[in-house]
């Protein structure tokens, strides 16, 4: 092994002769090579149904045929059983905050979000898992684990086949869900497998 294994090979270590046109130019340290690839995504069966229902202000989950757990947003598969989901379940647009985060830094893709803002796992009534949403119409520092919330839909004339139809989740004012035992704090959502 060479004395200094990280040194360039001897053949390269000597003087390099460059054409007069570039003599005295700065050595190249890096090159910028933009990569552009274009993809046409398709959401798949479950998410298509979910997004189409969103346009009508409906939230569709899907049920595991083996355990009965309800997943939302649905991915078309039950991770508990390794099977295609067995059926569609329409869920209420109310639920509770399972846990939350107060973001105090700006986020590149959402210039509309002014920090601090609260993102939370929302567990819908009847769902077995939580998903991320914004908690709005309440100061972030007043958000609580267990707080009841309902969807704040965009105005009807702005509805699309998009999860963005729900602008956020606001407090309902109902009493909080009680999540105070160890077991439930460690776990997310309702049912255990």
């Amino acid at each position: 092994m060479a004395d200094d294994p990280l040194a360039p090979p001897a053949a390269l270590a000597g003087d390099v002769t460059v054409p007069p046109a570039v003599a005295g130019a700065e050595p190249v340290q890096s090159v910028c090579t933009p990569i552009r690839l274009s993809y046409t995504y398709t959401p798949g069966r479950a998410l298509s149904r979910y997004l189409q229902a969103m346009a009508g202000k409906r939230i569709l989950g899907e049920r595991c045929g083996v355990t009965g757990q309800v997943f939302v947003p649905p991915r078309g598969v039950s991770p508990l059983a390794g099977t295609t989901t067995a059926g569609v379940v329409e869920l209420a647009d109310t639920g509770y905050v399972d846990s939350f985060n107060i973001t105090r830094v700006p986020i590149e893709r959402r210039p509309d979000l002014k920090p601090p803002y609260c993102s939370a796992w929302i567990v819908l009534d009847g769902a077995s898992v939580g998903f991320m949403g914004l908690v709005i119409n309440i100061p972030p520092e007043e958000v609580r684990i267990g707080m009841r919330v309902r969807a704040v839909w965009k105005p009807d004339d702005e509805l699309e086949t998009s999860a963005a139809n729900i602008g956020g989740w606001e407090p309902t004012g109902e009493p909080d869900e009680v999540i105070d035992d160890y077991e439930r704090l460690g776990r997310v959502g309702g049912q255990q497998p």
Partner: protein, 351 residues
């Protein structure tokens, strides 16, 4: 070595599967492969998969697909960003470590959301080659011209390979290009990437496959005639096209030697040759005699090219012909990278 066999195989390949996400079309295949040998995920000693984020256009894309296995309770699992054939290799090695006697392997990919030819350009050297955006099919055309002009192959020979694939594909329900064409009809095709014609190119497909491996007595319990892996090896060539001989495949030859291809007769070979030129090179590198060995009875990747799964599908296709008694000894091959840069060879035998 511990005797390990391929005991179950399920696949799906279509020109495109636009209506289903990867996990949605993989779940039925996973269930089918396990159900065929009456196993569940909980029975699997190890699970390994192969897929590509660049193909999916999404970072951590495999995280969405693992749910299809039913990984609750947790599973002993790994993933390679390579063709599923390398996932099978990893699983085979894991069984060789002892302590487990089953493994579940899958590979999948959808080329239809993007342009495979452009996506594969990002495999090339990121400093010197990728910035030029070489069309990955045109890169193979460079090799083809070297082969043709160097007298290593004739255009007629390439057309014969293409015609043979189409004939074989006619009996493969998973083939996406199977309409018959004569050699003369193929030679009459206009060049698309001179010297390559449309029939010289892979038939792009979306899809995937799932395989169950089992060791020793467990394999015999699960399968009437297990397809035993008698040898498996993979090797790589240099990446830089200018420093290697594109008219032969050193790494395929080496992998074939280490896998023991020449130790006995070969009844059939499933070769992952995306192009007619690659199939020609592989037959030579693996030392196959076309009079004695059925080459690509499935039609091969010319008939259906499912990126990230085509290699694993070759292993499944070869194994299923051992199960059925169509052959006693088969060779399966997988490749990765431009111009057959990496090659994996697997020798399968019936009892």
């Amino acid at each position: 070595m511990i005797d390990v066999a391929v005991v179950s195989f399920a696949q799906r390949q279509e020109a495109s599967i636009p209506g289903e996400s990867e996990v949605e079309f993989m779940v039925p295949l996973m269930e089918q492969a396990k159900a065929a040998v009456d196993l569940t995920q909980a029975d699997m000693g190890f699970t390994c998969s192969g897929s590509s984020d660049f193909l999916a256009g999404q970072a951590f894309s495999f995280v969405m697909t693992i749910d299809g296995t039913g990984p609750v309770p947790p599973i002993s699992e790994s993933h390679v960003e390579q063709d599923g054939a390398w996932a099978l290799y990893e699983a085979w090695v894991k069984i060789q470590c002892g302590g487990i006697d089953t493994a579940f392997v899958y590979g999948y990919g959808k080329s239809s959301p993007g342009s495979l030819r452009d996506v594969l350009a990002t495999q090339m050297d990121p400093y010197y080659v990728c910035p030029l955006w070489p069309d990955s099919y045109a890169v193979e055309a460079l090799a083809a011209r070297l082969m043709l002009e160097g007298g290593h192959v004739s255009e007629r020979r390439l057309a014969e390979i293409a015609a043979r694939s189409r004939v074989s594909a006619a009996s493969n329900p998973h083939a996406v290009r199977s309409e018959p064409k004569t050699v003369d009809e193929i030679l009459a095709e206009d060049h698309v990437l001179d010297p390559l014609r449309p029939s010289d190119l892979p038939a792009e497909a979306d899809g995937g496959c799932a395989i169950v491996l089992a060791a020793g007595d467990r394999a015999r319990e699960l399968c009437e005639r297990p397809a035993w892996i008698r040898g498996m090896d993979h090797r790589g060539d240099a990446h830089t096209l200018g420093v290697r001989d594109l008219t032969s495949s050193m790494s395929a030859r080496l992998a074939a030697q280490h896998a023991g291809v020449a130790d006995d007769k070969v009844d059939l070979a499933e070769l992952y040759g995306p192009f007619t030129t690659s199939e020609h090179l592989l037959i030579d590198a693996l030392g196959l005699d076309e009079d004695a060995t059925a080459i690509n009875p499935s039609g091969g990747a010319l008939a259906a090219h499912t990126m990230m799964a085509s290699g694993l599908i070759r292993i499944g296709e070869a194994a299923s012909r051992i199960w059925s008694g169509d052959g006693d000894r088969a060779v399966a091959h997988a490749t990765s990278g431009p111009c057959l840069q990496q090659n994996l060879v697997c020798v399968l035998e019936g009892d």
